[in-house]
Structures are given as C-alpha cells and as structure tokens.
Symmetry: C2
Subunit: 518 residues, 2 copies
C-alpha cells in the first residue's frame, strides 16, 4: 500500500496508521510493517499504532526515532508492507510459559531491545516473565554476554583491570570515592562506571558531578583510565551494556529488580570494561535489597559463578547494611565526607573500614597483596596521601578543579538541626526513611540537599543533643523534608521517635501535644 | 515547576519533559506528574516520558489524548507537580508476586485501565502476571464485575434476555446468523454483540458488515433489540466492557488468551447486555483454544460458576472443532451459506445442527422448551421461514437491505479450484492453515475473500475432484494465497497434500518434481 509520510515528532519508534488503512493492510496495533526509503534503499520494520483521528487515510505517521534511520521527508510517498513479527516475541512467550531460553534466543531478545525492535510493552513482558519465572544460571550468563555484545567495550593492553560494585540500598555508600583512588594509586587500572540514583539519595555518578563532569564515551573512559589509572563516570553516557537502561526503565514502575537481570547488568558492565578482578559489596540489612546472610551468600555464589564463566575473578563482601555508611547522605555532604578522609580525617570509621576492605579484596584478587593483607595495603595508601593525590588527578582529567578541598564543598544554605527530646540510646535507623527525607529535601538533583547524622546506632544522647542536621538548597524543600521526617520517624531513640518539627497549625487544646517530641 | 505547553499530536496519554526538567522535578520516565488547567481547574495525573532533543527545557509536551481532558493551548504556562504513582501499580506487583487480588484491587486496576491511567506497558504487566500466575475463580468474578461497572449497560424491562457466545478458533463458525434470528423469532430478546476477527478469517461483526452497518452505541443496541428482538453488532463500537479491548491489545503481540481474562471478557459482556440465560459454544479440537474434552468441561464449569455468581443461567456445549463449521470461510461466503439455510437449504448439515443445538439450549434455559426439546423447536422455527423473516428485520433495522438473498451475495471475482491429484479420502483439515490461507487471500477486510470447501473429512474423492475453491477480490492476493496453500497443506487426502499450484520458476531437472501434487 502506498501512503504519504507525515513526520510525528515524538521520541519513540513506531508508525501511525489510520484505522482504515490498517484494516486494508490487515494489521493491528503491535503488528509490524516494513517501510523503505526509495532513494536510499534503507528499510525498517516498525510497530504499528492506529488512530481514527490524528492521521488521515492515506497518510503514514512516522515517529522521530524511526525516521532517524529512515530519513524520509514530509509528504513523500512510501510503500508500506506487512512484515513478520520479530521472532523474539515467540521467545518472550516461551519465557512466559516457564521454558528456559537458549543463548541464541536471549541474544535475539537483547539485540531487539537495544535496536528498539521491541515496543516498551514487549520489553515489559520480557522483564515481568523473567521476574516471575526467574532466570537460571545459564540464562543469566547468556543475558550477560548478550548485554556485552550489543554495546561498546574497553580494551586495555595491560592488566589486571580492577572493578568494584556495590548493590544499592544503603544510603551514604560513598566508598567508590576512596576505593577508586586507592586502587589507582597502587598502579592498577580501575575504569569505574557508575549509575545515577533512581530511588536513592545520590548515585555515585550524582556525587562525582559535584567534583567534575561525568559524561564520557567508552573511548574517553579508556583513554582517561590509561592516563591516570582510574575514573568515576556515569555509565549511562557510555554505550556500555545499553540494553540494561532499557530493561531498568520497564522495571521502574513496579519497583522490581529481578535478581538475574541485576546480576547480568552488573557483570556485563564489568566484563565490557575489560575487568579481570571484581570486588562486589553486598550490603545486608532490613531495608537493603538483601535481607539475610544466607540470601547474600547465595547471591554472592551466583556473581562468582557468572564471573568465572566469563573469565573474571570475583569476590563478594557481605557488609553491614542496617545503618548508613558514614554520616553523610546527599551528594555534596557525601563528597565532603569522602574528601576529608582522603585528606587525613580519622572518621567516620564505618566508611574507612568498608572502603579499605573492598579495596583490599581487589588487591588480593589482583595479586597486589597476599591473602589477608589487602586491607592493610589499602589503609597504608590512604594514610600516605597517595590516594588523595590520585583523586585530584582523576578530578582533573575529568575536567574538574583539582585544587578542591573538603572545606570548599558546601551543603545547602538552609538547614535545621533535629535534637533529642530525652536521654537515651539510638536503637534503630530506617534507611528507607532517611533516603525519602533526603530526596524530599532535593537530593540528588540539588547537590547541597541531604542530611548529616550526628548520632549513629548505639550512641548515648542527652536531651537536646543533635541527632541529625537536614540541609536543602531551597527553603520550601527543607520545610517539606522536615514535615515528612516527622511522619517517617527515621531514627529511633529507645523506641521513641526523636524529632522536632515546627507546627504552623493553630493550637487545638483537645489534640494531645505530648508524643515524646520536644 | 512552571512549564510552557507544547501540544504533541499523537494518539496517546502522556506528557513529554526535557530530561533536565525531569531531573529538577525528580521524576523518571513512568513517574506521574499532575498538571492543572488554571482556567478550568481540571487537573490530570499523567505519566512522564523524557527527551533530550524533541522538547526544549522549560516546555511541556502534552499528548493528544491527555489534552482532550485538559484542554490547554500551545504556549500556555502550566504548573507541573510530582504526583503519586497509581496504587494499582502496587496491586499489579502483588499479582507478579503470586498473591491473590481483592475485589477492590481488581476494581482499581480495571478502572485505571479504562481511564488510561496506566501506560500500555503497565497494562501488559497486569496481563502477563495474570497469564503466568493465573486468576482464581474469585479474581475472575471480580474482573468480570469490574469490567461491567466501568462500561455501559443495557437495561431491558422484559425478559428473559438471551445471549450466546462461541469461543473462537474454528473457521466458518457463522452460527450466530442462524441462532440470533431463531431466538428472536421465538419472541425472546437477543442483543448480540460480536467481535471482529483479530487472527481469524472473519469475526461475526466482519460477516454482518456484508449485510448491514454494525457500529452502534449501547442505547441504540437496546432500542433496536426492543423493536425487532435481536441485533448482530460490533461490540467494539459500544462502550460495553471497554477494559476488554485494552487488555486484548496487550495480549495480541504474544498470541496469548489468558483463560481467566477470556472468561471475564465473555461474561462481562453478557452481564452488561442484561442477559438472563447464556448458551456457550466451546469447540474442542486440535487447533482450537480447547484441545480436549476434560479441558472443555473444566472451562464450562468455570463459565457456569461465574454465570451463577452474577445471576445468569449458563449452559455450555462442547462442539466438534476439528473441521470448519459448514463449508464456507470468509465474510461473503459465510454469509451466503447462512442466508441459504435461512432460505431453506438443507445443507451443510454441520452448520444447521450446531446452530439449532445452541439455539435449543437457549430455549431450554429460557423456559421456551422442555429439557431435550429445544433443538426441535429451533429446527421448526428455521423450517417455518420465521427465522428468515426475522433476519430481514434485523438487517433492516441495522440499516441494510432486507431484500437481500443468498444469491445476491457474491464472493470475490478471482478464484481457483484446487483439485485432488489421486483417489482417496479426506483425512484431516488444518483449521489454522485454512485461516491463514483465507487471510492471505484478503479476509476479513476483503469481504469476498475466502474459501469454499467441497470435500470435508471422510469424503471420498476421485482424482480431479475439487477439494476447495479459493476466492479473492484481488488477483495478486489470490496468487499469494495459493502460494502459501502449497506450503501449509491445509487438507490431507490419505496423508498426502492435495493441492495444485502453478509453478512459475524455471524447471530445474535435479529438483524432485513429484510430491503427490498434480
């Protein structure tokens, strides 16, 4: 059927047909049609959407992303043919029906995801079927390999290349800012790609942005790493394992993180940057992705197994995840805290210990230290000032200011100190609530937003002692964050909520005023 | 955040934000924002898509369907706020996790589907989770009720109201053209809504279109039924159980038909038209949706149970589904065959028998005939000519020509007779292949396309006897259909393919020429 092009500027793949034309062609929404640019011979198979009002009969709406490939102009007449549906839909159906997918089947699905040959709904179907029916170890391996194959890769001619990864879920987990410079200062290469926060208060890439640009191509990542030994960049700007972002996009509405897809996502990125050794930090805790030690051990075994299949030496550390790492949550506050340690600060100890444990594992895997001696080497490099020097080189090569010091990194100008209303011990922190409060204050987009914890679990407090300080760049955000802090009760002292929130409502005598809050 | 409207004319719900604005707001694709028209106070919560190129920072792209509600103009400045995600996403997640959904949860999901509060991907997630984890009998009931509640309903003040339904899968199943006029001729009301073919060679609505318009509102369906006793209309044009079409749209790419959703879809439509008694035809056969008698019995029990819970008397007939019903496949051919029987033709017997069995069940359920005597009453009404007279009234009230006769209904002008190349018996028909061939010939859109079967299973054929005639409205379609007929082998005679296809390729001596085809 001949139809006249009408370009539609939405950022998607797809073609829009009038219902009558669709009927004549015998296609329904979701079917594929093939369209060819007669001048170039380039043809694409694209999924059909139909309308009875927005496109006239005889017209063919072509969405922006489809036309990036096709390159046709408004009004041009094109031949439209019915095309076969992608076979990957049959493979997704297999997964729905509980069957195991072969390497070739997974490769085809991932390739179709990367090349936008599957609609968002079709990708969702793959994601949900994998979530419900699970992926076995072979499928995880195939998924990992397919993610690598469909993206860019770094190729270093020296080695060993080191990488690290922390499973998300713990606020304040800024260890990358210590691990990367320590590793690089030891003469190893660590091309670290990181993510931005989706549901957290700040991903490593959000944090690094406080210090330097983070968006680079794979080639640039490789070149910078070769020059200074390490980088801290945003993985999303590279074309490394690009399938992953498209999969995560479909998981997001349901707050799921399918375990096999998560492992494939992590391991694909490690493999694609050419890592030989990988240290993985698995926080275990009530509000973490992993809730128990046995669960963490099982996950660790799978990481190790997949790593082995791909020729990488992987070791995992199950870490304490029931409280934030260090005391700072939010981009500027976290970067400030990490820089201070590089500059020689002796606390917070949780941050120093965790960072050097992870760096130590990497040293041992890479043969830089004997078994059991990696952490000492990491501490030594940290104490020597070499890690600070290396961090400045990294900041410089990414285009930031290498003269920066922790003092120069400022949190937001609006702040409020939340104090204890009674004597007692801090008995519990709710990581999820702390994150919500930081996000409400503006993190991660407002770099200065976040919170600084004065009293961690086990600390004894007297009435009036500060528990945490909340920071924001905008006043209304601070107020809103304080408001939800009252509801969420993020830090418990002897089982009571400790908080102080200004109440602007009129005083109503019948409402009980004393709830343990000063 | 204040953004300036830019209307985007695609037929969807959604708003398009520049990535930077999305970041400042702290929203990701799939999140919801609330936007309000300041002049009217109307506000909508809509899902976010992001772009880095198509919309400038400071602009807010609003898709057509969203603006139908919102009614804002290009350039207008609007306040955009982060909105909560619909709670139905949590319920879908529950279903993913294998939990049972409550009545209220299903009601919320269906309501959000109908009101376009869920994106196509989110609807897919519901469909796939229900497919994999199944719906139990309570969930099917809730889904049925929710589908009814979110759409239009007919309210007749007389009764009993009759309805029928055939589970799809068997080609040539035009029994509605006999059942509806027989029932209506007996003085009962049968407001029959039907579907168009999605994967078949012609749905009842496609067939009826050969005789009269089929697109009416629920109110018109009710009025016409009250006047002449019955109609045969396209359900998709009414607003009866509108959730169903949106669910089917998401099932389509994967060729799935989740059993619970299918039952809910059928029963919701029956309940919404006010049916008191329902006869359900469940074809059982190799290429049908139901493959065995026990499977059919189980399905029948669920239909009966759901019917009972909604106060409808349901009876099911398991019917022979291994061969087409009658001899004609494709809109015009099928209508011609049905009209001929109404006019007095004594064959094909399979069609007469099946139609009067189903009509008979309805008579017995409605108390028009004693148990075991319904079919005789149906045959009597058919023989009396009253059913033909009633069919003409139905055609007339829907705006068609009541003077039409079976002779006047013509198949496509291009045809080819496929003949037997040997003596033998017809041993098997492949319904799926017959449908593919009819579709390739142009059915259901080209009303004249289809095939007429001369020899059904068990028939003895001599060499040169016709097996079937293929019809098309366009020559190239006929040729293409003949081509695939050779590949698909739709009708087997003594285990050999019977077909005759002109071969336009050069003769290559080394290729074997004899494969049992003349």
């Amino acid at each position: 059927m001949k139809l006249a092009v009408r370009l539609v500027d939405i950022a998607a793949r797809g073609v829009l047909l009038h219902q009558q034309d669709a009927k004549s062609l015998g296609v329904f929404p979701g079917d594929r049609v093939e369209i060819t640019n007669p001048s170039t011979g380039i043809s694409i198979a694209d999924y059909v959407e139909t309308t009875s009002s927005l496109i006239k009969q005889g017209k063919l709406g072509i969405y922006h992303q489809s036309n990036e490939q096709l390159q046709v102009s408004d009004g041009q007449s094109l031949e439209v043919r019915v095309a076969d549906r992608p076979v990957s839909l049959d493979y997704i159906r297999k997964k729905m029906d509980g069957d195991r997918l072969s390497r070739e089947e997974i490769r085809m699905i991932v390739s179709d995801i990367v090349h936008d040959n599957l609609s968002p709904s079709e990708i969702t179907a793959f994601v949900i079927s994998s979530y419900i029916n699970n992926l076995d170890i072979d499928e995880i391996e195939y998924l990992t390999r397919s993610m690598v194959e469909t993206g860019d890769r770094l190729e270093f001619h020296t080695g060993p290349i080191v990488d690290k990864h922390s499973i998300g879920g713990v606020p304040g987990n800024k260890i990358t800012f210590l691990v990367v410079p320590i590793i690089a200062a030891a003469g190893l290469l660590i091309p670290k790609t990181s993510s931005r926060a989706i549901t957290g208060a700040g991903g490593t890439a959000d944090l690094m942005e406080v210090l330097a640009p983070v968006e680079f191509s794979a080639v640039e990542v490789q070149q910078m790493t070769q020059k200074v030994g390490g980088v801290i960049v945003w993985g999303g700007a590279t074309n490394i394992a690009p399938a992953d972002d498209k999969i995560i996009l479909q998981e997001y509405p349901f707050k799921i993180d399918q375990i096999g897809q998560m492992i494939a996502s992590v391991m694909a990125k490690k493999f694609a940057v050419g890592a030989h050794v990988v240290a993985i930090d698995i926080p275990v805790g009530k509000y973490c992705k992993v809730h128990s030690i046995p669960e963490g051990q099982k996950l660790a075994q799978t990481f190790i197994e997949i790593g082995g299949r791909l020729g990488m030496r992987v070791e995992c550390a199950l870490t304490y995840g029931d409280a934030p790492v260090g005391r700072a949550i939010g981009p500027a506050l976290e970067v400030k805290e990490a820089l201070a340690i590089l500059e020689g600060a002796a606390s917070p100890n949780s941050l120093i210990e965790k960072s050097t444990v992870i760096a130590g594992i990497a040293f041992e895997l890479a043969g830089k230290a004997n078994r059991g001696e990696g952490m000492a080497l990491a501490l030594e490099i940290l104490a020597s000032g070499k890690a600070l020097k290396k961090m400045k080189e990294i900041i410089a090569i990414q285009g930031g200011n290498p003269e920066i010091t922790s003092d120069m990194v400022k949190p937001g100008e609006f702040s409020h100190v939340v104090k204890a209303d009674r004597d007692g011990y801090v008995v519990e922190m709710n990581n999820r609530s702390l994150i919500s409060i930081a996000r409400t204050a503006g993190a991660p987009n407002d770099h200065g937003a976040g919170l600084y914890i004065h009293a961690k679990p086990g600390t004894h407090l007297s009435r009036g002692d500060p528990i945490f300080t909340l920071y924001a760049e905008r006043k209304w955000r601070l107020e809103k964050a304080l408001e939800i802090a009252r509801t969420l009760r993020p830090i418990m002292v002897e089982g009571m909520l400790i908080d102080r929130v200004p109440n602007h409502q009129e005083w109503i005598p019948s409402r009980p005023q004393s709830n343990g809050v000063e």
